[in-house]
Amino acid sequence: MANEKITEEEVESISSFARISLDDDEIEDLVPQLNEILDYFDKIDEADTEGVEPLFGVHGKKNVFRDDDVGESMSQETALQNAEKTEDGYFKSPRVRD
């Protein structure tokens, strides 16, 4: 790789932001692939975008409002049906602190 953009340490750090724990072999495999892809991304540096605004979406809408009406909502049972761990009608999350 002529111009390495991303290192093993950086991949490890980014994967912790993304909350995906990668093992050493995965990181080792990913680094050259990511560098190759990032090299390709550098193509955009050639585009002259001086004075051009970023365009987030093409639909042109900014805010869409609706009346704050009470509608039908999902039952508690339905809301919980796909959760692997529940307790007393609640989702059971991992512990936040020891």
Partner: protein, 466 residues
């Protein structure tokens, strides 16, 4: 058989919906072991629904424009009470509590949802090889890929395992497999079909579209699934009747963007040029067109789609739904292990790249720059449509290749989408039709925003040329 013919026969009493559904399941039984187009099939539910349609017709009622037609739904689109896995381990047991807007519309139009079609995991792929449920194979030749990510939908329609299937297209995922499986695929204008109930990949790019056997079925299905939906804040159209106004129209000016000819296999160039020549014989004019920012569209698209994916997939923490690690540790560790166990390599790769492109220090260099290119591209497209009625190009730069041939070369696979992704960047509609029956080559016709009628009419004229 085409859906419009099928529903006519059912309404005329020449066929019943039950017979049609049974015949489709016979095709599925015959082909599915070689093709793997479906993740979930619900034969009994489909037959129950078919019986209701047959009864309604017997009672003199009209159940709708899709009455009795068997339809496959890409497994990234929510179906109430029917598993929706997104081709991922994490959602392998997920049963949505609601139907997507498009599925509601199909059911209200009398369509029969027979099952969920295979797709690349979270729609990330161009070959339908990244599915947790095994790859789909091309029904034209099972050694070859069917294209992706809606490969199951295209394969099912191609071998007669559904009359119509829905796919989703973030960067060509309806058009690529439609081209490889020799069927028709329509990517509608962004916002004209509600994304409510579509599992999000790149929200500013995603669009649900029909995969069908002919152009008339594409118009029919588009009319059913499009329309205003307050549940999708980007929804921007009302119901229209494209089917009624479908009229072959070769009397148009077509732009041929030179950038969408680059790197295309010579055989594909030749086949698509032959098709364009036939339209020219009928009166179409063609113009070489230069859209300079197309050169940057693919890397800019990759950056935007992966950035949006990294954000959209943050919801898979295993707490409310989806696979959850048995590790039983603190929040961050369990969350990270859950996602490591849940996602396949391609999904991990895109989340990591997207997180990187959005991170402090790189946001301006990658994400913001890509959005500026999107603005340039949108302006250039708008300008182009002042000169031409539509743009035309091959759908894919190459023909289907062997299963496994490119799966370990992600960059090469991303580059295969070069002719498709610009349309998603600018939100325009595009239709692909096969150059010839059973030929895995597609030609795409791109229109200005909300010009579906125009591109359907051009496609219809092209379809009728032999």
């Amino acid at each position: 058989m085409e859906a419009w013919k099928t529903t006519q026969r059912i309404k005329n009493g020449e066929d019943t919906s039950v017979e049609v559904v049974e015949r489709v399941f016979e095709n599925i039984k015959k082909h599915e072991k070689n093709v793997n187009a479906y993740i979930t099939l619900e034969k009994e539910k489909a037959l129950n629904q078919a019986r209701k349609i047959d009864k309604a017709i017997k009672n003199g009622e009209d159940p709708g424009p899709l009455a009795g037609v068997p339809i496959g739904i890409k497994d990234s689109i929510s179906t109430a009470g029917m598993k929706t896995t997104c081709g991922s381990k994490t959602l392998q047991n997920y049963i949505p509590p609601y139907d997507a807007y498009t599925v509601q519309q199909i059911k209200e139009a009398g369509g029969i949802v027979i099952g969920k079609t295979n797709c690349d995991e979270f729609c990330m792929g161009s070959t339908t090889e990244t599915s947790y449920f095994g790859e789909t194979r091309n029904p034209l030749n099972p050694d070859l890929v069917p294209g992706g990510s809606s490969g199951g939908s295209a394969a099912a329609v191609s071998y007669g395992g559904a009359s119509i299937a829905l796919g989703s297209d973030t960067g060509g995922s309806v058009r690529c497999p439609a081209a490889f499986c020799s069927v028709v695929g329509l990517k509608p204008t962004y916002g004209s079909v509600s994304r409510h109930g579509l599992v999000a990949y790149g929200s500013s790019l995603d669009q649900i579209g029909p995969i069908t056997q002919d152009v008339k079925d594409a118009a029919l299905t588009y009319d059913v699934i499009s329309g205003n939906d307050p549940q999708d804040p980007t929804s921007n159209t009302t119901k229209q009747n494209h089917l009624q106004n479908l009229e072959p129209d070769p009397d148009v000016t077509l732009g041929i963007p030179k950038q969408l000819q680059e790197g295309v296999d010579p055989e594909i160039k030749q086949k698509t040029n032959e098709k364009i020549d036939k339209l020219r014989d009928l009166g179409a004019e063609t113009k070489r067109i230069d859209i300079p920012s197309l050169e940057y569209a693919l890397p800019a698209y990759c950056i935007i789609s992966m950035s949006e994916a990294s954000s959209n997939l943050a919801r898979y923490d295993g707490v409310r739904y989806g696979h959850r690690s048995k590790s039983n540790e603190d929040w961050n560790t369990e969350f990270s292990k859950t996602r490591a166990e849940s996602f396949g390599d391609e999904v991990k790769r895109r989340i990591i790249l997207g997180t990187y492109a959005l991170s402090a220090g790189y946001y301006d260099r990658y994400y913001n720059k890509a959005l500026k290119i999107r603005n340039l591209l949108t302006k250039e497209f708008k300008q182009t449509f002042k000169e031409v009625d539509a743009l035309i190009s091959p759908t894919m730069p190459y023909k289907p290749f062997e299963i496994g041939e490119k799966i370990n070369d992600p960059l090469s696979l991303y580059m295969g989408d070069a002719l498709n992704v610009p349309v998603n960047m600018v939100g325009n509609p595009s239709i692909t039709i096969p150059t010839n029956k059973n030929e895995p080559i597609g030609i795409q016709i791109i229109g200005d925003h909300h010009q579906e009628q125009k591109i359907l009419n051009i496609a219809k004229a092209m379809e009728e040329t032999k």
